[in-house]
């Protein structure tokens, strides 16, 4: 009898909380669908550039399923590679083929290398021609962790700051301190700026700790400047902070903040570069452009693996700044719901 009463109460509460109910059924489907698209998309073609190689080799490479482009000089090809358009460059020096791999993603490098090696072998008629392999970024021993480590650094900063900020702002609202705050001469912009500075300090400390631990203790591959890593991480956490506080206006309790994870956080993981975006349907790839984590991860990878400077990642930095500014502004507007001026 008492068991029944309890069960009935729980069922009633569920039915009352429409959002939880919707999430319970819809969120697994959403995430599953995403996984389906991420792993069941198109096959990834290695993008290979050739520099004055014999025509039969180019043909064979294309037959092997590679996307091949020919260049007149090595410089032109390498410039294309720096833009991220090529995975490998094949050239012939002194009768020996040489392969330059882009190198920042071990799995992509391996796939390109395998295709080229098999093709070279078949053209050479099985003779023991050993192509010379070199790397533009990274090195042969670059592990998978080195490759997606930068993405994880960004992701964890984003994830925890998002949760923390969301819950903190929610508590401010549910305990009545927000209303009390708004009964003082504080401006709404001052309130949002205060939150940004207060949390920003801890977000920065967290970013520094994660970066230091990953690089110095776990030995994560690090080519670029640690200060740039901190800058990008800070911007990424600012985005998480402003997004977290903004979404907390739409949550009635801590539980509903947790519910944002499958809706807001998980999809970002799929588009962050942990999984090869080229494998997705082209229309789906475009979704990554509205995901803050995509820009953060891209910048972190560029810095840590490719050793790029501010001049190369400024676009990512600007987009992250834009996200933070837009979310902060929406926060200020959302506070109007609490106080009209």
């Amino acid at each position: 009898m008492r068991t029944r009463a309890l069960a009935v109460r729980i069922i009633r509460q569920f039915i009352r909380d429409k959002r939880t109910l919707a999430l319970l059924f819809a969120a697994p489907l959403l995430v599953l669908t995403l996984v389906h698209f991420v792993f069941n998309g198109q096959t990834v073609k290695p993008h290979i550039g050739t520099v004055q190689v014999p025509a039969p080799l180019t043909e064979r490479l294309e037959q092997a399923g590679a996307d091949v482009r020919s260049f007149d000089t090595a410089e032109q090809a390498e410039a294309e590679m720096r833009k991220g358009k090529l995975d490998a460059i094949v050239s012939v020096r002194g009768g020996v083929p040489s392969i330059l791999l882009e190198g920042s993603d071990p799995s992509v490098s391996k796939a390109a290398l395998l295709t080229i090696q098999q093709t070279v072998q078949s053209v050479a008629g099985g003779a023991g021609v050993q192509p010379a392999v070199s790397y533009m970024y990274g090195k042969e021993s670059l592990t998978s962790f080195d490759s997606f480590g930068p993405v994880l650094i960004g992701f964890f900063s984003f994830f925890f700051v998002f949760l923390l900020a969301g819950v903190a702002f929610l508590r401010e609202r549910t305990t009545g301190t927000l209303e009390r705050l708004l009964a003082t001469p504080i401006r709404r912009t001052e309130l949002v700026a205060g939150y940004l500075s207060g949390f920003g300090l801890f977000a920065l400390l967290q970013a520094a700790l994660i970066a230091w631990f990953a690089v110095d203790v776990l030995g994560l591959y690090m080519e670029g400047s640690i200060w740039l890593v901190l800058l990008v991480n800070l911007l990424l956490t600012m985005t998480a902070l402003t997004l977290g506080t903004l979404l907390s206006s739409f949550a009635g309790n801590e539980f509903q903040i947790i519910q944002f994870i499958p809706v807001v956080i998980v999809p970002q993981v799929f588009f962050s570069g942990l999984f090869n975006l080229d494998a997705m349907e082209p229309w789906l790839q475009n979704v990554s452009y509205v995901m803050p984590l995509y820009y953060g991860a891209d910048a972190l990878r560029s810095i840590m693996i490719r050793g790029e400077g501010l001049g190369d990642i400024w676009a990512d930095v600007l987009v992250l700044l834009g996200f933070s500014a837009a979310f902060a502004l929406l926060n200020v507007l959302a506070l109007k719901k609490q106080r009209p001026i």
Partner: protein, 253 residues
Amino acid sequence: MSLIAAEAGNGQRAAVAELREVTRRFGRRTVLDRLTLRVGRGELFGLLGPSGSGKTTLIKLITGIDKADGGTVELLGERMPKLSMFRRFGYMAQSDALYNELTAKENLLFFASLYGLKGAKRSERIQAAAAVVDLLDHLEKPVAAFSGGMKRRLSLAIALLHEPELLVLDEPTVGIDPVLRRSIWQELLRWRDSGTTIILTTHVMDEAEHCDRIGLIRDGRLTAVGSPGELKARAGAQTIEEAFILLGGGDRT
């Protein structure tokens, strides 16, 4: 004193709060219905009514935390809501909006800074406000360790920090034991006598006896306004409670 009481009864002094035909709706529900009210300078004005009658909504309109759908609200001569007016009154919300992780002193420091107090002046005001509510010995304790009554007193101290000319208190004595309630009322009366205007809400009938004037509020309408004596005389009742039922709840008799 008697002169002040007489004036208060007429409500002829300079207005501190002036509400005209104020209406507030939440969705389809009308919480305040064309309510008109005037509170004079130096008055201790009580809004008396059952919970759900619209007291808190009215308080929020007076302070400018909320905005009326119809009618006008003027506070100290300024049309509300207006940001700069938040400096002019001290406010105590119905729930104890305090930061439990922080000490009482840190809570006071935070709110004092929001009101622009700094340096020696700030320390002096924190000491003075804490002294008034008898919390000087507990300033270093985290609020989480406070009893309900202590939290209420701390909320009151926060409202007094910037020495406002007007105090707006939403149920200041709710959940407080009778002894403490009496001491808080003695404080309120003392501030009133020293010239501070006080607007408060209560649903405790006998508290209303201490007010200069009372507004009886029911279902979003003011059913009667006057001094406790006037209201009792008008209703021919012995107590405020009887007067409230006779004047305010005519639809139930």
